[in-house]
């Protein structure tokens, strides 16, 4: 199993809107991933996120590196009470970047990623118990 270090990034503010600040955060996240770390974006204090911010921070990463890379290297720390709205903004921004792909095709590839992730998580758990 790959032993990755984690670096936390915590955007300032409850309502994220500025593309410029999202771009700065993305650059830092990309740098840490490049040296083998996992980037954890802490969204626990975030209540709303504009599509432009979500696009600049998350969707651009997906467009440049792919969904699998994103899913393996970027983790989101979230507060359950706000997560649906925040995640919908992020998902909408990513979807817009993947506009050329059919909805069903995206769903199939994401379902595959989720299944692989769940299987890997359960293997890790079994490994720990053993």
């Amino acid at each position: 199993m790959k032993n990755q270090n984690i670096e936390h990034f915590c955007p300032e503010g409850s309502d994220l809107a500025s593309r410029a600040s999202a771009r700065n955060l993305r650059t830092k996240a990309e740098q840490t991933i490049k040296i083998g770390n996992t980037a954890v974006i802490d969204l626990t204090n975030v209540i709303s996120i504009s599509e432009s911010y979500a696009d600049e921070l998350f969707a651009v990463l997906v467009e440049q590196h792919g969904l699998k890379w994103f899913s393996n290297n970027v983790k989101l720390l979230h507060d359950k009470s706000n997560s649906n709205d925040v995640f919908r903004s992020i998902a909408t921004a990513i979807r817009r970047r993947l506009e050329s792909q059919e909805s069903h095709a995206i769903k199939i590839s994401i379902d595959g990623l989720i299944a692989a992730k769940k299987s890997s998580n359960s293997k890790n758990l079994n490994h720990q118990h053993a």
């Binding site: 771009r23 432009s52 989101l76 995640f87 995206i106 769940k118």
Partner: protein, 322 residues
């Protein structure tokens, strides 16, 4: 009568011969106040040169922080008890960092105002648009932008009215589009272009790859006809104004969007029309107004299965749920 952005732009003699800007006794809403403050700041008109006739209006001007916005001082000596409840104070969009802060200020006010289940979708969509617009103003408005929001009870509706407005004295649409090499001929055409989804001046490619390179944030072009700005990394999607128009149409709101000599208005039936401004507006000013009774009626549908799957993936990304 209620005075808003349009009434501000309909006044062809804002500054009198004695150098004073007269604000007659009336009822003013955010569109008026944001335009007034952005205009005064741009023209270096201090708070003392604004002649607010009515004591009630003057008190309100102090409450929303006009003195602070223009003179940097705040002599208002009372607690602003209703700040964030009925109105937000004027917010100056001064830097990229301020964009998130300003969005937080206006959005927490919106969430307070519409803290009911039947308005939650409206509140969420509005918050998102406010963020987009603030970022637009920061990107295009060169630190000259102000925004504010206010709720009031109109005599003709069972619900409340709400208005969000912002104004900047940046390039304006026409100058900005021509600056990046789009040959737009009129203010009306430039407004029409800017409200189309996917259109952003920030994404325009330089027509001639061999033209002299200038930094992307340069103000004006010192080498007309030769130099063109070059955007280094640019992911702008042109969503802000298109989202605003969609919001206004979905929730049966009203919009005034002004730049240069024209104002685009959208009424509660979605009808668009253009008016001539008596007061030419340097930059961009807008006001959107909603009636909560009408806003309640819109039911949003989420029917893209890819988005639902993406949400699932994000939730399962291995992050910790608190």
């Amino acid at each position: 009568m209620m005075y808003g952005l349009w009434e501000f732009l309909s006044n062809d003699e804002l500054v009198k011969e004695n150098g004073q800007l007269l604000v007659p006794h009336n009822y003013y809403n955010p569109g008026y106040w944001t335009a007034l403050v952005a205009y005064c700041r741009f023209k270096n008109i201090g708070f003392d040169a604004i002649n607010i006739v009515s004591e009630i209006n003057k008190g309100y001007a102090f409450t929303i922080g006009i003195e602070k916005a223009l003179n940097g001082l705040d002599s208002y000596c009372y607690e602003r008890k209703n700040s964030g409840l009925n109105y937000s104070e004027l917010v100056h969009l001064n830097s990229a960092d301020d964009t998130n802060k300003a969005t937080g200020t206006i959005n927490s006010c919106i969430r307070q105002l519409f803290d009911t289940t039947d308005l939650s979708s409206f509140s969420k969509d509005l918050c998102e648009v406010v963020g987009e617009l603030h970022d637009n103003v920061w990107s295009h408005g060169m630190s000259t932008g102000f925004s504010m929001a206010q709720k009031w009870k109109p005599p003709t509706s069972l619900g409340y009215c709400f208005e969000f407005a912002l104004a900047d004295c940046g390039f304006g649409f026409l100058r900005e589009l021509n600056r990046v090499g789009l040959n737009c001929l009129s203010d009306e055409d430039s407004i029409k272009w800017c409200i189309e989804k996917g259109n952003s001046s920030k994404t325009q490619k330089v027509a001639n790859e061999w033209s002299q390179r200038l930094p992307p944030d340069i103000a004006g072009n010192p080498m007309p006809g030769i130099g063109k700005p070059v955007m280094s990394e640019n992911n702008h999607m042109g969503l802000g104004l298109a989202k605003l128009v969609e919001l206004v149409n979905n929730y049966k709101g009203q919009l005034w969007l002004s730049s240069g000599e024209k104002t685009l208005t959208i009424d509660t039936n979605g009808k668009q029309s253009f008016k001539n401004n008596k007061q030419k507006w340097q930059g961009v000013a807008l006001a959107c107004r909603f009636d909560t009774e009408k806003a309640k009626c819109y039911k949003k549908s989420h029917d893209d299965e890819a988005i639902d799957s993406l949400i699932e993936l994000l939730k399962n990304s291995g992050g910790v749920e608190l």
